[in-house]
């Protein structure tokens, strides 16, 4: 049981975006995907969700090859959480969350769907704002709506593409804590592309560090966020340590 890829490579034009990626995400674990801009974080997430077709290599969901599945089948296994931006043409909060039931709409009854959406709204503290337009919400509220949508999708794997980039510190913390709770409670596997290394180290079970489309390091944060890897992947000199058990990464100078 895992969402995995083997020997995954992607080229766009002449540029190699991903090359020889082997990775597996198990249910019940939270993995953070880190790396510089353009290292291939978003590309890997898109390939794992089948939004991009890889040039070579294979993605499989619980042993089934991804191309052999319909989009709806994939959507019942994997929920994708994009950055919380963009115009949604006047969709309301409850309509946005209801969309998470789209892959189940053939088997859902109206009342079952309503119950699930209502439960999700309550869980993510969205009750009372069901009819508000998504476009009018704050960044933190939008992120909660998108997480609620992923929640009602009842997928075994969550793929989050920089969910915290547009959020202030408090809402970053809140969003990551919510994902951590979903992982622990529902035993879903979550892969988060994220820039904040300290937050990644704090919330993830393990990290994967990408550098120019390849995996440079993977494993516990202590082994991945070493000064040497950070110099190689980001071109910075950084100090890494813990304060009261909380990891921190402070960039000191350009390497």
């Amino acid at each position: 049981m895992s969402l995995s890829c083997t020997a995954l490579s992607v080229t766009r034009g002449k540029r190699t975006v991903l090359s020889g990626i082997d990775f597996a995400l198990e249910p019940g674990e939270l993995v953070c995907l880190v790396g510089a801009n353009g290292a291939g974080k978003s590309s890997l997430i898109r390939c794992l969700d089948g939004l991009w077709r890889p040039g070579s290599g294979e993605v499989s969901i619980d042993g089934k090859r991804l191309p052999s599945l319909t989009r709806a089948q994939v959507a019942r296994s994997i929920a994708y959480v994009p950055q919380a931006g963009g115009d949604t043409m006047s969709l309301s909060v409850s309509e946005m969350v209801t969309l998470g039931r789209a892959p189940h709409r053939a088997t859902d009854t109206v009342s079952l769907r309503a119950r699930k959406v209502e439960a999700a709204l309550a869980r993510f503290a969205l009750n009372g704002m069901e009819t508000r337009a998504f476009d009018q919400l704050s960044g933190g509220e939008r992120q909660r709506v998108l997480l609620a949508r992923a929640f009602v999708q009842e997928a075994r794997y969550l793929l989050l593409d920089e969910p915290t980039s547009a959020l202030d510190l408090r809402h970053q913390l809140e969003a990551l804590r919510t994902v951590r709770e979903m992982v622990d409670e529902l035993q879903v596997g979550a892969l988060i592309a994220i820039h904040d290394l300290s937050a990644a180290a704090r919330f993830a079970d393990r990290l994967v560090l990408l550098e120019q489309g390849r995996i440079r390091a993977a494993g516990a944060w202590q082994n991945v966020l070493t000064p040497e890897h950070l110099r190689g992947a980001f071109g910075i000199e950084a100090r890494v340590g813990t304060v009261d058990g909380l990891p921190f990464v402070i960039p000191e100078a350009q390497g």
Partner: protein, 347 residues
């Protein structure tokens, strides 16, 4: 709160439906030959009844109602509703509020087709209308399939669809202008008159063809309401991640929107604005859920065009101003009122 929203929507449907029926009735009975309500109703149901039961209605009334007024009212309703749902669909899949059914070049293409037919016919298209309709329809479809073909080469995304549509609009616009340049004075007048969209001279054939196509297209679009919501919520990637086959869905929706628009343009000429603004009015009143928005915008579009036609033929009677012109005068104030009202409400 959800129950409240549901009640509000139901209310909006009821009010608009009632308004549409009332205006349709009034528009059908009102004209140069005004008819009392009872006479009008009797005349309309007379052909449906067995011979002995028919009320005594002057045959001229019956002729006016059945050959002139009723097809006109029905064509206005169908054209307004059709352009509105096509607009909702196109705005939804391109996730672009500036898009209308004409964005992919249907109207200049239809004008081009109609111009060819008018130039080709000896009498300048005045005598026989059928070739003009067929040519306009064929040219509109040709343009739409060129747009879809171009988009398919580059991957059918919303942006590519809009951009290739804009490009082909200019191409067909230039072709039409070239034809108008070489046309005679009389032919030019016919071409220009054709381009003013209106439901003047609506026939039962026009009503049947457009009605039939709308009758097929509307359920197809309604069946894609979830997909349209997904596109609107986050574009291609989100729609795909929610389980929709993005490219196929976009083609089905576009073809449906194109068919209904092309049919309407062919019979009623270029009636702009309804397809752009009816979806917005719909969104401002009932929100963006396409399961509700599609039927509601259809009502809005039908009512807009019906009112425009009624105003166009009564305000300056006996001059009949084409509905395609009046609809902008009517729709812009409504649209701005709702838009500004919402902005105030939000602030």
């Amino acid at each position: 709160m959800i129950a409240q929203a549901f009640a509000r929507r139901t209310g909006a449907f009821a009010v608009l439906g009632l308004l549409l029926v009332t205006v349709a009735g009034f528009a059908t009975l009102h004209g140069v030959q005004h008819m009392p309500l009872t006479t009008g109703l009797k005349a309309m149901i007379a052909p449906l009844l067995p011979a002995g039961w028919r009320a005594d209605v002057p045959p001229s009334y019956q002729a006016i109602l059945l050959t002139l007024r009723l097809p006109r009212t029905l064509l206005a309703i169908i054209a307004g509703a059709g352009l509105a749902v096509a607009g909702v669909a196109m705005q939804g899949i391109t996730r672009n509020p500036l898009v209308s059914p004409y964005t992919i070049g249907i109207s200049p293409a239809a004008s081009f087709g109609a111009s060819i037919a008018i130039l080709a016919s000896g009498d300048g298209g005045a005598g026989n209308y059928a070739p003009v309709v067929v040519a306009a329809f064929a040219a509109a479809l040709l343009c739409a399939f060129l747009v879809l073909g171009l988009s398919a080469l580059r991957g059918v995304t919303g942006t590519v669809l809009v951009l290739s549509g804009v490009g082909l609009s200019y191409l067909f616009g230039a072709l039409s202008s070239t034809l108008q340049f070489v046309a005679s004075e009389q032919q030019l007048a016919v071409i220009v008159h054709w381009a003013f969209g209106s439901v003047n001279g609506a026939t039962w054939q026009a009503v049947t063809v457009t009605g039939l196509i709308l009758g097929i297209v509307l359920p197809v679009l309604a069946a894609h309401s979830w997909a349209l919501n997904a596109f609107a919520a986050g574009g291609d990637e989100v729609a795909s991640s929610l389980g929709f086959a993005v490219a196929r869905t976009r083609i089905v929706i576009t073809v449906a929107a194109v068919l209904v628009t092309a049919a309407i343009v062919s019979y009623a000429g270029v009636i702009g604005f309804v397809g752009l603004v009816a979806p917005h009015i719909g969104r401002l009143i009932v929100g963006g859920d396409h399961r509700v928005l599609l039927p509601f915008s259809a009502l809005v579009g039908a009512l807009l065009l019906l009112l425009a036609d009624l105003a166009g033929r009564t305000l300056f009677a006996p001059v009949v101003v084409p509905a395609g012109i009046v609809v902008a005068y009517l729709g812009v104030p409504i649209f701005l009122h709702l838009l500004l009202g919402r902005a105030r409400h939000r602030a």
